[in-house]
Symmetry: C2
């Protein structure tokens, strides 16, 4: 039960976007360099984040991506849902049809508890929290990254 690289990379990119918010949009190329990722792959991720209304984009020179709302207003739950889908660890929690003995399933309550617990953690963390960690990190200031 691991999260995808999309979510890993996407969350870090958003944390960086929190640094520049609301000063300027950051091009995918720049974010990709920072993380040592392929630009094309990150574009894919940012595209999903845009579809979810988490980032806005501007084309052309001095364009790029920026947070659609303030970092405090973007929870990790929204990010998770955008890049990873549901937080329910089994489909039947949300689509009862899938499992046969749904009504009397002794394990489903456990999976529901798990989902709620995950939602709790992700719902109480925002991009602002991530960005704050970058600001207070040892390397911050040494980076070539310009705000």
């Amino acid at each position: 039960m691991e999260i995808s690289t999309k979510l890993r990379y996407g969350a870090r990119a958003l944390a960086e976007l929190g640094l520049t918010y609301p000063k300027r949009p950051v091009p995918a190329r720049e974010l990709a360099e920072q993380q040592g990722l392929s630009v094309k792959y990150l574009e894919h991720i940012l595209s999903a984040l845009k579809a979810a209304g988490i980032v806005n984009s501007k084309r052309g020179m001095s364009g790029g991506y920026e947070l659609a709302r303030s970092p405090e207003q973007i929870t990790m739950k929204a990010v998770f849902n955008a890049l990873e889908g549901s937080t329910a660890p089994v489909k039947c929690v949300e689509n009862p049809e899938i499992c046969s003995q749904y009504d009397d399933c002794p394990t489903r309550p456990v999976w529901e508890e798990l989902r709620d617990s995950i939602d709790g953690v992700l719902g109480s963390t925002t991009i602002a929290d991530l960005t704050e960690r970058i600001r207070s990190s040892a390397k911050y200031g040494k980076t070539t990254y310009q705000i």
Copy 2:
């Protein structure tokens, strides 16, 4: 981030084994019939549970599988670990080498929180809880299953 069918099926099988504990071992065939699963696939799952010390097995006629400890002593965390691996949603939480910017990673704390939260839920649920749900279920008694 979904759990595997191994865990889904395995957890339900263990809940059933809680019913017969400590009366008699139940053959894989019987458990598979109940869930409408292939015997061979369930054997595979039970084998993993045995390797983890969660069930014992007896060969030959009137053999089968039984819980290695009392249902109250088997947590869902142990079952999860046996069938699904670590509860950490990213490898770097437990293997720092994997991620590049490990030390200053702004997102890792979130994944650690997730792991702890998942551990909390799974650690506080036991097979006995699952078995109890079967006992108090509507269909219980109507089933052909004999203790």
